[in-house]
């Protein structure tokens, strides 16, 4: 008798749990429907490089449109694109172009990523202020990050081991750097992959023989802690420091467009936000944050 009782109770409990789960699921999907019809709450997810910029945009935008709420999170461009494909974000901020593989996956899921370039970013190469090296060619950079040059003496510095710092592979900066500087070669496995730009700045500022790459905006903000290295496109070209002028003119070789991705054409409040970013006011935010305007 007792054991039957127990079983009945067990079934009841299972039923209860199932009911709760069902209610939760139903609640969530209801919210989705609502969000689609009104969109008072915009979520933007993606590139860590762009978090500063997008939050500044969001702040300025919310001042103009107090009825709307914009939430901004980072995590890396890959994370943002994955979120766009999974339908968990309205807008994805990405510091790299969407990959063919991701595009195929998007089409499978009936999502049509729409790319909008909103600003330009230069990637700065940073070293410790105590490091005597202050200019590198693209070839030298590529040799350093692919592991062909292991010591600073290989590129005209002191005889010390190069301590390589990179972003995690989920970062858009990682992929862009790999494509642009390493000519699509692989990073050396000895490169340390740090979880955030701030961790790279922190390590470069404390480790004398470290080298890393960060978005120009970050490097400028941390100019008292790290030294920005001038870059030569090749042996014979002049060394160029990254700045708004050199990035825009294309003299500085390591620069990239920053994008927003949406599912399909922007509509309603999403369109308002994108238009704001591209407006003169929005582009002013771009230069204030340390990036380069698109026009």
């Amino acid at each position: 008798m007792g054991s039957i009782d127990k079983h009945i109770k067990a079934i009841l409990v299972t039923g209860l749990v199932a009911a709760v789960v069902a209610i939760l699921v139903a609640g969530c999907s209801k919210q989705d429907d609502k969000a689609q019809s009104e969109k008072r709450y915009i979520t933007i997810k993606g590139s860590d490089t762009m978090v500063h910029l997008v939050s500044n945009w969001a702040e300025a935008f919310m001042k103009k449109r107090p009825d709307l709420e914009v939430s901004v999170t980072g995590g890396g461009s890959g994370t943002g694109i994955a979120a766009l494909l999974n339908g968990t974000t309205d807008i994805c901020a990405s510091s790299r172009k969407i990959k063919d593989k991701e595009l195929n996956l998007a089409i499978q899921k009936n999502i049509h990523p729409n790319e909008i370039a909103v600003a330009i970013d230069g990637i700065a190469i940073v070293v410790n202020p105590a490091n005597p090296v202050d200019g590198l060619t693209m070839q030298q950079l590529s040799n350093i990050f692919t592991g062909k040059s292991l010591r600073w003496s290989d590129i005209g510095g002191p005889d010390e081991k190069i301590d390589l710092l990179s972003r995690e592979s989920s970062s858009g900066t990682y992929v862009f750097f790999q494509e642009m500087v390493l000519n699509k070669q692989d990073f050396t496995q000895a490169a340390k992959l740090l979880p955030a730009t701030s961790a790279i700045i922190q390590s470069v500022s404390s480790d004398k023989w470290a080298i890393g790459y960060v978005g120009l905006g970050y490097a400028v903000a941390a100019a008292d802690k790290v030294k920005i290295v001038a870059i030569k496109a090749d042996e014979n070209s002049p060394a160029v420091m990254p700045s708004e002028k050199t990035v825009k003119s294309g003299e500085y070789p390591i620069a990239r467009p920053l994008h927003l991705y949406l599912n399909g054409e922007p509509k309603g409040t999403l369109k308002d936000f994108v238009d704001f970013c591209l407006s003169a006011e929005g582009q002013k935010v771009v230069s204030q944050t340390g990036y380069v305007t698109i026009q």
Binding site: K184, A190, K192, A199, A210
Partner: protein
């Protein structure tokens, strides 16, 4: 009611195994097991993506082994002191502090490591950077020590008083009694304590990710950077395209990790059980 709550945990464990297996196993069919047991982890590449989990496994092993080496003297020493030598007042003070240590969130320990331990290791060993396997091991030892202390203290306490009395009656000093009678008698319990501590260490993520530098190289040196299995999953899972090889490879890493902790826990439980029977 109670039966269903108790069986839920079994169901969950079985569910996790099935789910991990389901998501991970297609990897064995296509890129194949050979790809998995190679030495190169390069999941994002324009050339050829590589998913060799060996550097991750050795990374986890190195950090765990170092952490265990650091944990044993501190954990066992402290438990012997607390159970055999400490006066009641000292015990009253020591125990709560050890419990507080056990309760510190790992991300806080990681932050402490980044700001304090990493620069300390860099200066002490004259390295170019403190982001090393050793830094991770120190933090993990901090987390494992409380577990080891409380379980081995239990083991030491349950050694029958008659053993100690007999030893003392034969003219052995207090120290001789502790090291030659009490500790050997409690050894199975202490071993189990260490293994449970290791189980916690191998599965720890956040603190390790913040301080080990995460370079996927195979190394046996505590002064090199390593990438652990847990840090790899945490860092890459958010970015990965659902259903890709990379996604499946991460699940395979998860399976390897689960098997390791599962194995350690099983052995520890066996040892613990045997000693309770005896």
């Amino acid at each position: 009611m109670l039966l269903s709550t108790a069986t839920t945990s079994i169901l969950i464990v079985a569910g996790i195994f099935v789910f991990l297996g389901k998501e991970g196993s297609p990897f064995l069919a296509k890129p194949g097991l050979k790809e998995l047991i190679s030495t190169r982890w390069m999941p994002v590449s324009f050339q050829k993506e590589s998913f060799g989990i060996l550097p991750l496994v050795t990374g986890s092993l190195l950090v765990t082994a170092l952490a265990t080496l650091l944990t044993i003297p501190f954990g066992v020493g402290a438990s012997v002191y607390i159970s055999e030598l400490a006066r009641p007042v000292e015990r009253e003070i020591l125990k709560p502090f050890i419990e507080v240590l056990a309760g510190i969130p790992s991300v806080v320990i990681g932050f402490f490591g980044l700001v304090v331990i990493v620069p300390l290791i860099k200066t002490c060993f004259r390295l170019s950077t403190g982001l090393t396997a050793l830094a991770g091991a120190v933090l993990l030892a901090l987390m494992a020590i409380p577990t080891v202390i409380s379980i081995s203290e239990d083991a030491l306490r349950s050694v029958p008083t008659s053993y100690k009395a007999a030893s003392l009656a034969l003219g052995a000093s207090k120290m001789q009694t502790i090291w030659r009678v009490t500790v050997p008698a409690a050894l199975p319990g202490i071993t189990a304590a260490i293994m449970l501590g290791m189980g916690r260490v191998i599965g720890e993520t956040m603190a390790v990710m913040m301080v080990t530098g995460n370079a996927a190289v195979m190394t046996a040196s505590p002064f090199d950077s390593v990438r652990t299995m847990t840090a790899t999953i945490a860092a890459e899972m958010g970015e990965v395209a659902f259903g890709s090889d990379h996604y499946r490879a991460l699940f395979c890493v998860g399976i390897a990790l689960l098997l390791a902790t599962f194995g350690l826990n099983m052995v520890a439980q066996k040892v613990l059980k045997k000693y309770r029977m005896g």
